[in-house]
Homo-oligomer: 195 residues x 4
DNA sequence: CATGAATGAGTTTTCATTCAT
DNA sequence: TATGAATGAAAACTCATTCAT
């Protein structure tokens, strides 16, 4: 077996561990999840996890960073900055919805592990970078006088956490996050923030 | 002394345990909090907790129900149903803010333990009752044609979770939840939901 | 209330505790029985037990001695020494059976706590006294050349433990310890030991 | 090395735990024996016991079944069914004595844990199988008109429990279970049951 | 590299005993 | 005298981590 395949295998194993950890951390929380349980679901030996991650804490932090990067890539990067503001907001909302539909686990994980005590400096730093990205997006719309000239954090909280709330309702089965509800919510939130 | 003081002492100890558990569950989560740690912070022996609560799970459920009741009492009960709709919404928002300011721990606890796997049937039932109360409040405003005629759950998610997001930003220090920001957010959310 | 009644009450309480302990020790064993459980079944406060007994170990030892005394009084004392030997043996057997029928709990307790590690010197001494009594009874029959001239302990083991075995079978429901089986067993054991 | 040695090691550890548990359960009883004490005597870590046994209850049940199987194999299986009845009984008695001499702990354990509340259905079932085996042995001798035609359970109780009693006396040091006493007791019990 | 048996510190929970009332 | 709430030491059991294979 050549080194290419070997590296692919390595990647596979690492990914399998991260995927298994994601599922279990969402289901049972960080402290509620045993490392051997992650190993079993990933189909690897318990010791193998320690080849790829220094500790359980390291694992959850790596996972957090990966998920955060995925979310911000998917949602924030590449929105057409020269489209009309309402269209930009529509794109943002649609990307959030798309990400949620395709990566419910990732979304739940991020939300449940928000600001948890075991997140390290690097994870906090990455969180800050994403926040900065989001803030600059809002500030641009405010500068164009299409979004209310209030604290960008207030705008951000409203947009992001409203969506989180909708996601939770959907997961609890109290709401179907179909096109209709998504469109209605989008319009609500737009009216909330537009000038 | 008489039984009055004795009962007060009993209540004191029970309350001390609940208060200590609230703090620690918010800081470290349910699985991350050891029962002796709760005991120590409450200033009682570890065994004493089991006089008042059947198990750690029982403790977290009792706490959940107490907090949920407190929140819904404070926020939903007693809003003047005959005031103008905008005024009713203002009262709701002000009560949320007031509750948050005075019971940040309670608020965080409820939000972190939302739909956790260790919540029992009774806690779920209480949650449902509070949801029903909130839904009927929204439905009334929709019937009066002052709130958008979309799924009440969407309205509820937007109002409640926007506030949760603001609370989180405040706790992380990214936002000061003063009168100005609160008023701005209130106006945003009103514009989000009003017809 | 006069001292007479008070003392009667005291006796009642002590007896209630001993009776409760007997039941529970038989059901769950010494280590398997909690002192508060004894208190509850006896209808007294947990602390009260420590007015009458120095410790759990003291309680089980007092109980052991009381039961042992009861058994030996009932079975060994007062057998007509001048009756024919077969009649003496019949009396012994009938008394054992009678005691078992009327005090199954006491009988089981004695048998289960035979030579347990928590029995103290006094209890062992009482056990020895009862053994001596039994031995002298057997030796007398051997001197009269009606019982086999072998070690009295062998005779004793056969008589007493055969009866214990019958009692156990009865308690497990595999045998009804009625007149018929008792008479049959008596005749067997007599033939076992008679010269 | 190969899997053969590996498996032998596994078996060694499991056996060490069972042997340690046997000793301690005999000395202090089930509830009186702490799992870490078993671990220490077995020379393994406390957690290791839970690799081999699901719980303390599982451990005691496995041990019970193993001991019961050993006893019945040793005593009941392979008695020459075509030897003269008195010789068959002699073989039985000699096997009991031999088993006792070589496995005092096993014998005591079985006797102390007879019908204990923590024995599970499988253990009870195995006990029943052994009882059935013994009953059929007795019934055969009764059919041949060499043993008294009374309830086989009475016969069994007399034979087995007399031996138990002798074993106890020996363990307490009140009796030496040498050839002489064994032969005397054997003759007694034979006279007890023979027609 | 990968494994999973082994471990002991840490978890939840129980209980013998004390002591304020 | 009687109580039962309070306690902390010790129980059963779990799990992050290591290491021999």
């Amino acid at each position: 077996m050549g080194p290419v395949l070997a590296r692919a295998d390595e990647g596979d194993k690492r990914s399998a561990i991260l995927a298994a950890a994601l599922d279990l951390f969402v289901e049972r929380g960080y402290y509620g999840t045993a490392v051997p349980a992650v190993a079993e679901r990933a189909g690897v030996g318990a010791g193998t996890i320690y080849r790829y991650f220094k500790s359980k804490e390291d694992l959850v932090n790596e996972l957090y960073r990966q998920c955060k990067a995925q979310l911000s890539m998917h949602v924030l990067v590449g929105i057409s900055a020269d489209a009309p503001p309402r269209e930009q907001f529509h794109q943002l909302w649609a990307r959030l919805a798309d990400f949620f539909r395709r990566n419910q686990g990732t979304f739940s994980f991020l939300e449940l592990h928000h600001h948890a005590s075991y997140l390290d400096a690097e994870s906090r730093a990455m969180e800050q970078r994403v926040l900065d990205l989001a803030t600059s997006f809002i500030t641009r719309l405010q500068a164009a006088r299409v979004v209310k000239p209030i604290s960008p954090d207030v705008i951000m909280a409203i947009v992001y956490w409203s969506f989180v709330g909708l996601g939770r309702c959907a997961q609890e089965g109290r709401l179907i996050l179909g096109d209709e509800n998504l469109a209605a919510a989008e319009q609500c939130i737009w009216e909330a923030i537009r000038l």
